[in-house]
Every structure is written in structure tokens, then in C-alpha cells.
């Protein structure tokens, strides 16, 4: 199972991309753990997580084809 990860705003500066794919990731906590390993600057970054466009506040099990979005504080307008 491959999970699509999309990131926005200042997180694109940390990850140097707006999208990546992670294989065999079970839940959102594992996404965060894996990304923190790869991108240490992410540990101190502030963001919310959305799974398939819904923000989640607790660890969430991922389904086949889920998209996980990392959303730093909004600054539209």
C-alpha cells in the first residue's frame, strides 16, 4: 500500500517538494514518525493533519488510496 503525502506552505521549504509517497504506512502517527526521521526540521514545525480532506486530531488508520495532507497555519486573504 502506497500513501500519498501532500504538504503546503512553509512545509514545502522543509521537504523541498509538495508531494511524496510512503509505502506500507499504517496510520498518521507513522507518517509523522517517518517524515520526522527524513526531515528533522519538521519536528519543530507547526501543522495540522488532514486525511482525505478531513482534519484529524488523533492517530488515524489509513486506507488504500488515502491522501494525507500536512497543513501549516493558514494565511489566506
Amino acid at each position: 500500500m502506497t500513501t500519498r503525502i501532500i504538504v503546503f506552505g512553509q512545509l514545502t521549504d522543509i521537504i523541498n517538494s509538495s508531494e511524496l509517497a510512503l509505502d506500507n504506512i499504517r496510520d498518521t502517527d507513522s507518517v509523522v514518525e517517518e517524515l520526522n526521521n527524513r526531515y528533522p526540521a519538521l519536528v519543530s514545525a507547526k501543522y495540522m493533519i488532514a486525511v482525505d480532506k478531513q482534519t484529524v486530531t488523533e492517530n488515524t488508520i489509513l486506507k488504500e488510496g488515502s491522501t494525507v495532507a500536512l497543513l501549516p497555519p493558514f494565511s489566506g486573504g
Partner: protein, 150 residues
Amino acid sequence: MTEKKIKNIFITGPISPTFISDSIAKHNTKTGIGAHSIFLGQVRRDVINEKTVGAIEYTTYQEMALEKMHEIREAIFEKYPLTCMHIYHSLGNVSAGEISLFVFTSAPHRKAAIDACEEVVERIKAELPVWGKEVFEDNSHQWKQNKTEN
């Protein structure tokens, strides 16, 4: 939520004053309207640590933003007796002095139009997944932060 009822609000580049007047002009056949309230966000040429903002580059998580905007729109129409509401937000590059947000509410009476407009602006700033990158004149950048204003 019906997928097909979701409207796009995003415009590439700045929102032009003539786009705004065209939008106003279209309302002259809606003769039940007595009051329009309009909010416009304009990019400031802020100076931060001696660097000058030349433009803001906006990006969004579009699918999520449009669903959220739809939810806000429904809630506002539920709460206020409005005739209509139009919202446009820029994506991409908007230079200092140009307009990046256009919120336009109309109602028979002024209180509904004014209150709805203000509430929509606050909700857009707080809830829409949109990000502004302040690009300085030397091409370096920083990410914009929205202040809550109370």
C-alpha cells in the same frame, strides 16, 4: 453535500477593479437588494527586517478549500437573510497594491449584508487552507502569518 454545487472561488493572479465593478453591475436586476457589503484584501508593501515585500504568492489545497468554502457559504446563508454572496481569492502572484480577496454580500437590508460579510472574511482567514508566501524585492521570502483581530 452535493459535489456539483461546489463553486470555484479561485482566480489566477490579482483581482482587478473592473472585475469588481462588473460583479456589482450584475446586481442591478436584483431589485430586492438594498445593501451591498464588500471586503477587499490588498497586498501591503510591508518592510520586515529592512526587506520590502514586493508580492505575495498564494497557494491552496484546492479540493479541501472549496469543500470548506461550500460549508461556510451554507452556514452563512442559514444564518443571515442574504440575497446573494460572491467570494473570490487569488492564487499565484499578487503584487503589493493589488487585490487578493473579494467578498461580496447583498441583502434587502444593511445589517445582514454587513454582518455576513465580516463573518465570511473572518472564517476565510481562519479556516481556508490557503497560504501566502511574502516574496521580498530581493527574491527571498517568508511565509505570511494571519493575525486574529479582535
